[in-house]
């Protein structure tokens, strides 16, 4: 069945304050819509259930990338093209620019926003693993004020998060301390462009005298929502990088991954690919150690 535009109300207050007031007046009644790359697909197919939508598109207070000495803040309304085109972001936190280039086609990247990607909360979200290994924080806003929490604590289940009914995702804050880290991101899907990932793995690490002093590993499609792989990290942290720790990390990943069978892939395949990606990253890291 096709979507019926008369069955949905759509308003555009045009300012952040206007949107927040509406959401405070009738909490839970209004579904925010930014670039529409998720909700309009549901609408076209007649699957959109939200009766009332409030547009975030064109609100400049949400669409920014701000560089300060300590952090880069990305507004929830920044598009993936905005992120790909940003020089400092691409230089220092290249995994985000690279993931942005995977999000559908140019016509999707021009409309899809970072906030939409995170709030939609797909287990396969392309931007999530990169944000997790950069220690991102998310800033939420409502008429009651603002609060910041680690992005790793944002998702609470399959397509659910910890936001209150009157809250909006305002920005993502990224510390500018990863430029010297070894960084890794790889997505495995059916084709390079447009395909939703079967599995994706991101990692950042810093070695000191061949010992892993910092490591973050995160994945998409290994759990109901994108996650840090904390057991895998623990198997590597403060240990010399060698065959022993590599095997321990593989075992830890296999233990903590919770992939499922679905239309895109199988749990077994996802597990296998994830450990292979982890190994690829660790071998890259080891080669770097040899060069040091």
């Amino acid at each position: 069945m096709r979507g019926n535009p008369e069955a949905h109300q759509l308003v555009a207050p045009g300012s952040l304050g206007g949107v927040l007031e509406l959401m405070a007046r009738e909490p839970g009644e209004w579904t925010p819509i930014a670039g529409g790359t998720e909700l309009m697909v549901a609408f076209s197919a007649g699957r959109l259930t939200a009766p009332r939508l409030v547009s975030l598109w064109g609100i400049s207070e949400l669409r920014f990338i701000q560089v300060t000495p300590e952090t880069i803040a990305i507004g929830a309304g920044a598009t993936f093209l905005d992120m790909r085109r940003h020089k400092v972001l691409s230089d220092e936190l290249p995994l985000i620019a690279r993931a942005s280039g995977w999000i559908g086609s140019v016509a999707n990247q021009s409309r899809a926003t970072l906030g939409g990607n995170l709030v939609n909360g797909s287990p396969a979200a392309d931007s999530s693993p990169a944000l997790l290994v950069y220690d991102a924080e998310v800033e939420l806003i409502s008429v009651r004020g603002r609060r910041r929490i680690p992005y790793a604590a944002f998702h609470s289940g399959y397509k659910s998060n910890i936001m209150a009914a009157d809250e909006l995702l305002f920005a993502v804050h990224l510390p500018r301390r990863f430029a010297a880290h070894r960084q890794y991101l790889r997505k495995v899907g059916t084709r390079r462009a447009m395909a939703i990932s079967k599995v994706a793995l991101a990692a950042t690490a810093r070695l000191e005298n061949a010992v892993v002093r910092e490591i973050r590993v995160a994945a998409a499609s290994l759990a109901p929502f994108p996650v840090r792989l904390v057991k895998t990290e623990a198997a590597l942290l403060d240990r010399p990088l060698g065959r022993e720790s590599l095997l321990a990390a593989r075992a830890a990943l296999l233990d903590e991954a919770r992939p499922i069978d679905d239309i895109r892939s199988t749990a077994d395949y996802r597990r296998q690919v994830a450990v292979n990606l982890l190994e690829e990253f660790l071998l890259e890291l080891r080669r770097e150690r040899v060069r040091q």
């Binding site: 535009p5 529409g36 790359t37 559908g104 016509a107 999707n108 021009s110």
Partner: protein, 170 residues
């Protein structure tokens, strides 16, 4: 409900338009049904195929995923705006000469994606063309001719730095 619909204003190919339709109506449907610009096509209706690609404020978008309210105040460019006074756009000429169009359903979107690419990158390499066209599916599978047409249009425009270099050498 009709009484609550706002008038929505934007320009299409330079001409001012005003429509009073449900705000959730898709830009694609407004173009085709209300403005009778049927060049933009509906393929998949879910942002995968690119047949409905148009430019909105200079960015390529899938018009099937734009609720028309979000087009308020924007400048829309569609395939109908490429030819000026009956004179074909260089991309259209190249597509004719190089067999870039077969059944024609994907062609309007492909032309808009190519226009977008050349606006930012007048002399793209083949991998850049492939990336820019990744969201436009041709089920006649005429991709090689599409890519060749875009390369020909780029070459027919101002000479590239590379071209000038060759010219100086010869």
């Amino acid at each position: 409900m009709n009484a609550t619909w706002p008038a929505i204003h934007f320009t299409v190919n330079g001409a001012s338009c005003s429509v009073t339709v449900p705000p959730m109506k898709r830009l694609l449907d407004v173009l085709r049904e209300d403005l009778h610009l049927t060049g933009s096509k509906e393929g998949c209706g879910e942002g995968e195929c690119g047949s409905c690609s148009v430019r909105m404020n200079g960015e390529l978008v899938n018009s099937c995923l734009v609720p028309v309210l979000q087009a308020e105040g924007t400048q829309i460019e569609t395939v109908e705006g490429l030819a000026v006074d009956g004179e074909l756009h260089p991309l259209q000429v190249a597509f004719l000469e190089h067999g870039g169009a077969q059944c024609g359903i994907c062609t309007p979107g492909v032309l808009m994606a190519a226009t977008q690419l050349l606006a930012h990158n007048p002399h793209p390499e083949l991998p850049e063309i492939r990336e820019a066209l990744a969201g436009n599916l041709c089920r006649c599978t005429g991709f090689m001719r599409i890519f060749a047409s875009i390369q020909a249009a780029a070459a027919a425009a101002a000479p590239s730095a590379k071209g000038e270099h060759h010219a100086r050498q010869s």
